[in-house]
């Protein structure tokens, strides 16, 4: 069942009474979430991703726009009637109930046609528990469980009533690093198995990219770009999206386009056919550097970190805007650590140019704009 958001906006009156300007949390959001897909809402904190999630769940009332579940306009529908599963950031498990009671709780509320008798409920609950592999903890109280276990109980509780859509609010943020990887996979597996349309919110771009079918990058309430993780990574529509995705982060330079050539720090580093001359920002992915004896771009070498399969070269350049330049090259390139400078050639498809005012992407050479929407 696909979810359609139509010019969704949410405006909060500002908290302090004196200044009466409002805070626009989400402005004019329009996109469709395909049925059965896992969608990652991504963006820095305060970009309105959680607010969007809560509006979909019904816990927040939008100030404008509509939300459709399939064909039904659920905008005014209260959460009780939306049939939504939501996993809260800090789980919100009922502290006074055992795991089993927590999972059973939503089933006991089903009424009318959906009413279940006692043992189907129990059976469904155990099924959900097995799905998230906590069927051995059924009689424990939440306070006796670890963060990861509580997380899984919350998911089981959200899934047990077979909601139309599953929403997860920063599911991994309270877990330690090792558990985060494992739970990430769990969520992916569960979503695949149930085929339930799922939206999850995160500020960790790696997490979003790794398991989402589609990611939606947001900034200050406005959607920047929607698309498959790889597409958005390879084809960012503006500087923000480019900088936001990828670890280690993209390197950004102050640069100019002069008659078809990209000039960084006075060196013409790359031919950029089709780009008009102007001041620009040049962003180069760490894996976009090729060390070469007489490479087009010279940088002052700072240090080299050997990481086994490849080497990370940390260097400096007059025109750089990020604190350092970090390039990752194959270990076969032998760079002497003591060298003063290092020269690179650039892989065109790993270099993006953005207008210095609008920070919008300027396409050159073979690059074309990504198709919008899913």
């Amino acid at each position: 069942m696909k979810i359609v958001l139509q010019n969704l906006t949410k405006v909060f009156p500002s908290r302090n009474k004196k200044s009466n300007e409002e805070v626009v949390a989400v402005s004019d959001l329009t996109f469709t979430i395909p049925d059965g897909k896992l969608v990652g809402l991504l963006g820095p904190s305060g970009c309105g991703k959680s607010t969007t999630l809560y509006m979909i769940s019904g816990l927040q009332k939008p100030t404008g726009g509509q939300i459709f579940f399939g064909e039904d306009d659920v905008t005014a529908l209260s959460p009780e009637n939306r049939g939504v599963g939501l996993v809260f950031q800090n789980y919100a498990l009922y502290p006074h109930m055992t795991v089993k009671q927590n999972i059973l709780f939503p089933l006991q509320n089903l009424k009318g046609a959906d009413k279940l008798d006692k043992n189907t409920m129990l059976e469904r609950a155990f099924e959900a528990a097995r799905l998230v592999q906590i069927d051995n903890l059924m009689d424990r109280k939440p306070s006796e469980l670890s963060g990861g276990q509580q997380q899984r109980v919350a998911i089981a509780r959200a899934l047990v009533k077979m909601p139309r859509v599953l929403l997860l609010d920063e599911p991994l943020s309270n877990l330690d690093a090792r558990l985060r990887l494992q739970t990430r996979e769990e969520i992916r597996r569960i979503q695949r198995e149930t085929g339930i349309t799922t939206i999850f919110v995160t500020h960790d771009q790696e997490e979003a990219m790794s398991i989402s079918d589609v990611i939606v990058v947001m900034k200050l309430g406005v959607v920047q770009q929607i698309g498959k993780p790889q597409t958005v990574y390879d084809n960012p529509v503006n500087l923000f999206v480019a900088k936001f995705l990828g670890t280690p982060p993209i390197n950004v330079f102050k640069a100019q386009v002069a008659n078809g050539k990209l000039v960084i720090n006075g060196e013409a580093v790359l031919d950029v056919p089709g780009a008009t001359d102007r001041e620009v920002f040049a962003a180069i992915r760490p894996e976009g550097f090729i060390p070469a004896e007489n490479g087009a771009m010279t940088c002052e070498l700072s240090s080299i970190e050997v990481m086994g399969r490849d080497v990370s070269i940390v260097s400096k350049n007059e025109a750089m805007l990020t604190p350092t330049i970090r390039s990752i090259v194959d270990a076969d390139y032998k760079i002497s650590a003591t060298a003063q400078n290092v020269k690179f050639d650039l892989k065109p498809h790993k270099v993006f140019i953005f207008d210095s005012e609008t920070e919008e992407r300027i396409y050159f050479g073979g690059q074309t704009a990504p198709e919008t929407g899913i």
Partner: protein, 313 residues
């Protein structure tokens, strides 16, 4: 290590300085009275007057306690105290809980209504006792044109005929009804406040989770609000019982010093009995006070035990 030990001893010594004023005052005005009460309670047939006159024997024993327990008047006081407590504590707790939950569920006027519900807490109980008495009293009872008092008039509006609440010959249960209304009225504010405080400290997300689980309103109340509030409810019930056992000023407030309607059954309470006995039988008053303390202590222990079982902590 030695310096450390020395430091601890200095620390300990200092603590006692801070506690000095409190401990001194407590010794004089709390500990000595307790000891003196025990002395009076176990000194047979003790009365201050007899002691002054030197006509007291000096046997010690539980004669005073026996005398108190055997006296029908004391049994009535015990019965009245139990009855009032058993009636008022549940009623006021449930009422306070419902009011607190409703208050918590509304936004506009919440502060205004909260202030009103807190009013009885700031008033003088003797003062309001007079007001309640005036409301239930039939002025000029026994004459042929009595004014039935505001409460009976309100009842009249609903078609009920006037009831003789507290005047001569009024029934025991009518008197108890008036007292229950007055005590509940007085007990509500404190309870509402505690429960409202408790409600507001409950994490909002549990209610959001309940919404997501499409829980009907009543189930939210019984399955989430009450269990989460149980420590507060336990506290309110425990203090309610302690307060209930010490009920006295409300009866004086409405029925005056003779603690009963004219021709009615005595509504005297345990504390009332203690005060009467202080007139000239301090031995028995002390014995009764210790019995009251024992009852409160036992009931509180039971309450704590039960609440430990029931509350989620």
């Amino acid at each position: 290590m030695k310096k450390f030990l020395q430091k601890i001893r200095f620390e300990e010594w200092k603590a006692w300085i801070y506690l000095a004023p409190a401990v001194a005052l407590l010794l004089v005005f709390t500990v000595w009275p307790i000891i003196n009460t025990l002395r009076m309670a176990f000194w047979e047939d003790y009365s201050i007057m007899k002691e002054l006159g030197g006509t007291l024997g000096n046997e010690f024993g539980i004669k005073n306690f026996e005398k108190v327990i055997k006296y029908q008047g004391f049994i009535d006081c015990l019965k009245n105290t139990m009855l009032l407590t058993v009636l008022t504590v549940p009623i006021s707790t449930i009422l306070a809980l419902v009011i607190a939950v409703c208050l918590n569920a509304i936004k506009p006027f919440q502060r205004f209504l909260q202030t009103i519900f807190f009013l009885p807490y700031v008033t003088n109980s003797i003062a309001i006792g007079m007001v309640f008495e005036a409301m239930f009293n039939i002025v000029g009872f026994g004459t042929n044109n009595p004014s039935f008092g505001i409460i009976n008039n309100i009842l009249g509006v609903f078609g009920a005929d006037p009831i003789n609440w507290i005047n001569a010959g009024s029934g025991y249960w009518q008197n108890i009804a008036v007292l229950v209304i007055y005590i509940v009225w007085n007990a509500l504010p404190f309870k509402i406040l505690i429960l409202l405080g408790g409600l507001q400290s409950v994490n909002k997300q549990y209610y959001d989770a309940a919404k997501i689980d499409s829980t009907p309103r009543l189930r939210v109340f019984t399955k989430i609000t009450v269990p989460l509030l149980s420590p507060m409810i336990a506290y309110v019930v425990i203090t309610g019982f302690i307060g209930g056992f010490k009920e006295y000023s409300s009866i004086v407030g409405i029925f005056g010093d003779d603690m009963q309607a004219v021709g009615g059954e005595s509504l005297n309470t345990m504390v009332g009995y203690i005060y009467d006995a202080l007139g000239n039988q301090e031995g028995r008053a002390s014995a009764a006070a210790l019995i009251l303390f024992a009852i409160i202590f036992v009931v509180t222990m039971i309450n704590m035990y039960v609440s430990k079982k029931k509350t989620h902590y």
